[in-house]
């Protein structure tokens, strides 16, 4: 079952609304990186785990310097107040709890705040995969958000009862932003807070494995 919903840029935009002035933020590869397009004018410090605080916009043309890239290997720029540091310092601040908000993509999330994002066993690589900085980012996150499509390309649920892929972290996800809904992970379970205009609670439940708790303040996603 597939519903029409927000494009990826708009998932990023909705997630960006939860990031506040003064926040130190790290954005994972994929939809999370698109959030950087929606924070102009806000006083937000983007950290790149490669070893940079206050990462500026992408660089083009003559502004490209091969010694200045973000953690996705894209050329970027610096800003007034940017600092560079080495990798153990970078992961010290990540693991040490200095990032206010971490946003990651995911292959699967469950209702207890576990998520899987680093390894797809279908690739046949016998356990190895790209962990990158994801587990460190989760370990230190004050608020961990997931942005992703609600279902897989072929319509399978990505919000599941039990992860079938290897977990990146357990019990850490606070909010999930998809093309169809905004959900919050609570001790009672997954709370449905916002739905894509025109969809019903039943629609969202039909593509979501865990039993949803409907927020008393349920509303349509506003951008």
């Amino acid at each position: 079952m597939k519903f029409e919903g927000l494009p990826r840029e708009m998932i990023a935009m909705r997630a960006s609304q939860e990031i506040k002035d003064g926040d130190y933020v790290n954005l994972g590869i994929g939809i999370p990186t698109l959030i950087s397009n929606w924070i102009e004018g806000k006083d937000i410090m983007l950290q790149s785990e490669i070893g940079m605080m206050k990462t500026g916009p992408l660089a083009f043309g003559d502004d490209v310097d091969q010694d200045l890239i973000n953690a996705s290997c894209q050329p970027v720029t610096q800003l007034p107040g940017t600092s560079y540091f080495d990798i153990f310092q970078s992961f010290s601040m990540i693991r040490g709890g200095y990032m206010d908000v971490i946003v990651m993509g995911a292959l699967q999330v469950n209702g207890r705040g576990d998520y899987a994002g680093w390894s797809n066993p279908a690739r046949g690589l016998d356990m190895v995969g790209n962990i990158g900085g994801s587990m460190d980012l989760c370990a230190g996150a004050r608020k961990l958000f997931i942005t992703m499509e609600h279902v897989t390309r072929d319509g399978q649920a990505k919000i599941v009862n039990e992860l079938s892929y290897p977990a990146t972290t357990k019990g850490k996800v606070k909010m999930v932003f998809t093309d169809l809904a905004v959900l919050e992970v609570t001790p009672q379970g997954l709370v449905l807070k916002e739905v894509y205009p025109g969809l019903t609670v039943e629609d969202i439940q039909s593509v979501t494995e865990p039993r949803l708790i409907v927020s008393p303040d349920l509303k349509e996603i506003e951008l």
Partner: protein, 246 residues
């Protein structure tokens, strides 16, 4: 103490078959490519490359050559595979990993950073929250099943932590923007990444530098890696390369 060597070939002359070499770089930035090319030319076999975040994806030509020459026994990394499965399927390195011809040992990136740092700092082991709740806490992640040694965990103040060990290497290949004759180094912007911690982790640390300075030229408050960690310095040209991992 003058640590300058006249060529990368001489500087790596004592790298033998079976050596473990720390290779810094975060994808394309800060990779010691001139030293890697010298390693390819030298042709030593059975090499373990201890990486941090995909320098061999950034230096993909060098990786292809190392695989083709069958020089690699093992790679340690946090992000050593192409992101896209289809590209990975066609990649000779990934094929060798899938066939078990090259071992790929995987750790979280921050854990690797700390393992190199610990090696340089005389800290044999440390507890980290990273990986708790994942298979990383259970054993070393590797494609070679018999090498999956169990990891220890400990509960401290109600939270579970994983015990990880220092990672010391025979050699470290370093890429610096500037270095003086006594081995003091400076890196440029995000090319710093793993270079400093790996400089401290190598028993013999060899730095390729784009700019060679005399002692006193680098401001003492602004030296990123004190020369005590660096045994050899070689001046190299600044290469141009594509910024891509795809």
């Amino acid at each position: 103490m003058d640590k300058v060597w006249s060529s990368v070939e001489e500087a790596i002359a004592d790298v033998e078959d079976g050596a473990t070499i720390a290779v810094p770089g975060f994808f394309a930035a800060g990779v010691p490519r001139v030293l890697l090319r010298a390693l390819i030319a030298k042709g030593v076999k059975g090499i373990t490359l201890a990486c941090g975040c995909g320098p061999l994806l950034g230096a993909s030509e060098e990786l292809a050559q190392l695989v083709k020459n069958k020089q690699l026994r093992k790679v340690i990394d946090s992000y050593g595979l192409y992101r896209s499965a289809s590209k990975g399927m066609a990649d000779p390195f990934e094929q060798a990993v899938r066939a078990g011809e090259i071992e790929l040992e995987v750790y979280p990136m921050g854990t690797l950073a700390e393992r190199y740092r610990a090696a340089g700092a005389g800290i044999p082991a440390f507890y980290t929250p990273t990986g708790a709740g994942s298979i990383v806490e259970e054993s070393v992640i590797t494609n070679i099943p018999e090498n999956r040694r169990k990891k220890e965990t400990k509960v401290i103040d109600g939270e579970k932590y994983v015990l990880e060990y220092a990672l010391k290497t025979d050699f470290a290949f370093i890429h610096a923007y500037s270095g003086d004759r006594e081995g003091n180094l400076r890196y440029k912007m995000t090319a710093r990444n793993f270079n400093h911690v790996m400089a401290t982790a190598g028993k013999v640390t060899i730095a390729e530098v784009e700019n060679l300075a005399v002692p006193g030229e680098l401001a003492p408050d602004d030296i990123h890696t004190p020369g005590v960690y660096v045994q050899r310095v070689v001046k190299v040209p600044r290469l141009s390369f594509a910024l891509t991992i795809d």
